[in-house]
Amino acid sequence: MENHEHEPHENHITSYTTLAKVLIGLLFLTFITVAVTGIHLGPLTVAVALIIACVKGGIVLTWFMHLKFELPVFRYMVLGVFLLFALIIIVTFFDYAFR
């Protein structure tokens, strides 16, 4: 198909300031992940760690991997993958939570 009409903004350039802010955000979340292990949350430990990891993954995808500047279809695809991943983990815990 020789049609490029849907091509998104080519070569979007993100400013260094934005990138630096994102980096600081990621580092902050990493500290939280470490700090949280000190608090005793019982079975929720895994959930908290996974949620923080997902937020970090989301940030990386949005800015570093330019999802923010892409076609909506890619966002839906990534959202679908996250949903699938979350569901798989929840279903696995149907076993662990009721054993």
Partner: protein, 534 residues
Amino acid sequence: METQNNQLNYIEDTQGRWGIFAWIFSTDHKRIGILYLISITTFFLLAALMGGLMRLELIAPGETIMDAQTYNGLFTVHGIIMIFLVVIPGLGAVFGNFFLPIMIGARDVAFPRLNLFSWWIYMAGAILAVYSQFAGDGPPDTGWTFYAPYSTESGTNVVAAVFAAFVLGFSSILTGLNFIVTIHRMRAPGMTWFKMPLFPWSLYATAWIQVLATPIVGITLMMIVAERLFQIGFFDPALGGDPILYQHLFWIYSHPAVYIMILPAMGVITEIIPTFAKKSIFGYKAIALSSVAIAAVGYFVWGHHMYTSGMSGTARWFFSFLTFIVAIPSAIKVFNWVATMYKGSIDARTPFLYAATFIFLFMIGGLTGLVLGSLATDVHVHDTSFVVAHFHYIIFGGMGFAFFAAIHYWWPKMFGKMYNERVANIAWLITFVGFNVLYFPLFVIGIQGMPRRYFDYLPEFHAGHLISTIGAFILLSGLFLMIINIYRAKKHVTPAGDNPWGGVTLEWQVPSPPPTLNFDEIPTITKSPYSFEK
């Protein structure tokens, strides 16, 4: 671009490369399809012979031709080769590569070099897999499932085998990625999603499973390696691990992997039946969307492999319930195939015979699958030869016979020569009979209590095993006849013609064999893919 009708076909056009290099370095999707065809057929024959040896061992009680350890190695290697090297790439890598671009009106896949790279990774993984069988401390004896904690302790060559499966996963992911992008971006003008043929639809659903599920098994297999080398404690209870976690992680991939095998097979059958019934497919959208439904729901049924593992009761009924749900879209397809044939003018030539056989064997495999999917009955037949019979009906009777259907259907298009149809029909009859004589007795002795993966058995199972072994040799002779007959097609002088079956999808509108660039001019699509009315 070369022009008009005197274009070279893809076999003549070596693009200036010499001999074998014109194949192993070609980025033409058709040549890559042939590369996979040759590699997959080779590994299939190798593993089929191993199956024959296993059946020979089981011909009579007691040790006949091999000891228990050799038998354990043999069923593991048979499983690894068949699953990871043959049925998972199988139809997608061979016929998907060859026909997907042609059927959607494209000149190639979206990333031709990545496509060639996928084949190279496949070969690297294959060599590793074969190496793991002969090097080191003996072939792995864990079964293809590599269940922990045994796989973390077995003294055999588990790491190499596991690493081979890991490498092969990359090939699968890259092929899936390539197909997704190809289908999204390269369809001919006018080919909307619902004007796309159904084999590409099934490849699309499959590709998503390949991309999303394969990484999970990759990580899981690496966890086995880490556990073996560093005693991390993922799966070993003594170190605080959980062996059932391994089964979860493994089946989160390996159940959807069953759909990587069977969805393209269903796609092939959906192409063949309208062509030989001379009738538009019944329920086009239902078939297209049921592929997607199977792919989606298929992610959440993995626990049906684990009913007796000690999983919680809640999880068990949940997985059992969803397993019954996932049977619905499969049944929808079967009803649509039958409805397509209804009142059609059926021309029962070789590809149709294989396609009809697919439906028959798939039904037996599918319904016995429900026996395994329901909690109470599974407890009785779990880990018996009933399970072995069930999945051979699905994978061999389903995917395998769909592969045979596909090769007989598309061979004249791929090489421009027709095989001897009379011999092909005889080979079909022998394989069909041999298949059932081989696998049906396993259902019976399975219900009677014959465990799987045992090299020996009690005398009461002798009759069943003897019949089964006889079936194995009928089946093998049928397979050899089929392969020789197809191979001899190249000796035929008369060309098969561009459209020997009267098919209507795009691949029948290009010359046989197709030119390198597939189309002189990319067609514009206005009609549904299966309109037989002129």
